[in-house]
Amino acid sequence: MASDVLPQHDSESTSLATKYQRSISWKLLLLSFLVLLVAGSFVFDVASGPAALSWLEVLNGLFQADAVEGAVRVIIWDVRLPQALLAVVVGACLGLAGAEMQTVLNNPLASPFTLGIGAAATLGASLVIVFQFSLFGLPSTIILPLAAFVMSALAALLILFLSRHFGAAVHTVVLFGIALLFGLNAIVGLLQFVADAEAVQQIVFWTMGSLARAGMAEVTLVAAVLLLALPFSMRQSWAMTALLSGEEQAHSMGIKVSRLRLMVLMRVSVLTAAALAFVGEIGFIGLVAPHIARLLLGEDHRFFLPGSALAGALLLSLSSIASKMLIPGVLIPVGIITALVGIPLFIALIIKRGRTL
């Protein structure tokens, strides 16, 4: 031990504060770089599609809408732009939700998808689709996300309850999540069995995950949820970073850990429900994005949280591009792309964690 704690005097000339401030500047630079990547991917997403528009047409369509043909304008403004924007905001919501979940559950394998919260949102949506619930005369466009939120919040609370009462070890929480996932999928299967053909089609749309039905109204709603949630997340960023010291330490610092967990899981439910309400189940973004952010920026949550949101936005935006380009002329549901990319990464994470468990 003595040898590995012995000081190396070469690095002591610069004060720790200066080095720390330098590392913060570096992280801000990396965050800016991520913003640029997301912007680049977004523009490429708008430019790609079966209509084979040239870059000039796309840029003209975006910045001088009157200078292009009506069909081009419709393709860019009514089809591609909402989809590309939705990919960015949904990805950001899922990335942020995954990062917060991994911190408060102290579990790198936690995410809205792996712990069944996405499946719970699907169940909520399926119940509304099949039974046509109405509440105070509200339209289904509001009832459906609301039901998705209520179910995902219940699933988050169930995970919290189970992990607190039966152990919060990495594998325990993930196994609870898997059990929940299977259980909810079975109920959704049962709903599909009793539903009519149209309802089944809508449920299938949910479970595949697609950006194709996006409109600017949906984009605005999801973006609003993200912009409302982010300041609350950032406000708790010190507490979440301090929570990494351990629960007892955090308690002794005056952090109300149970309240923090509850607030975060509620926020995760809102973010997940808002993100999935209009695109259906999109897996693995919430799991993988925080790991990318952690690798680039570490776990100071002032950088980790926005980094995870940006990584999520980038991943889903890239997946959206891939969904259009893999088979020319065919738009593959983006949930299939994220699953195909995410599953190998998930397995890699399990193997990596397995060595340290």
Partner: protein, 264 residues
Amino acid sequence: MSTLQVDNLSVRYGKHQVLNQLNFGPVKAGQLIGVIGRNGAGKSTLLKAMTGLVPHQGKVSLNQQPLALLGDPQRSSQLAYLPQTLPQPSTLTAYEMVYSSFRAVAANVPRTQIEASLEAVFKQLGIHHLALRRLDQLSGGQRQMVGLAQVLTRQPQLLLLDEPTSALDLHWQLNVLQTVTQTLKQRQHIGLIAIHDINLALRFCDQLMVLADGKVLAMGNSREVLTSDLLRQAYGVEARIETCSQGRPIVLCDSADMGEHAAW
């Protein structure tokens, strides 16, 4: 100048009474109290109860003010607790971890003041070179030193340390206890340390509190309080208290009693 008084402190886990009407104090400023006793005697529970981590009865007063009446921010600014468990490995650097815990407790303290405090503590503990390394790249002992930096930086009036040297080698055990005692004396704060190594406790603590079955078996000046009878009663061992060549008392254990004191 801090003072500490504990009155009728009791903790029960289900049917098991872990601490039973514990009384001690007033403890004077600048003193380090060593809490010793067998596994399960209630050492960690005492520190947790004083921190407010476990439900308890009784009163813990710092400077004549009951801690239970303070709000969370006020209490956490006056006391700091280092748990027995080591800070978990993460991609945070040691500096980030200590900085963020300071920030979480004291949101309004100027950045420069926090940075100066961190610089001083990292240097004092001799872990300046570890500051910008990630916790998942540090050994258990190194992480324990980071945990200690985390509580010392906050300059609490009451410092509660649960086995702070459990993962450290001899060099760092002495380093930590020297730093803690010097800090307490300089700042006139009070410390309680749960510790298994009786000879370290004898050397560095001003007073020793011997716990057994949730009660204070004996408490007093560390040079005087220990006797062979007390060690037999508290630990179930045959031991002698000798004086070393420098005039300090040391405990030499001869054998463990396999009879009535053997069971937990």
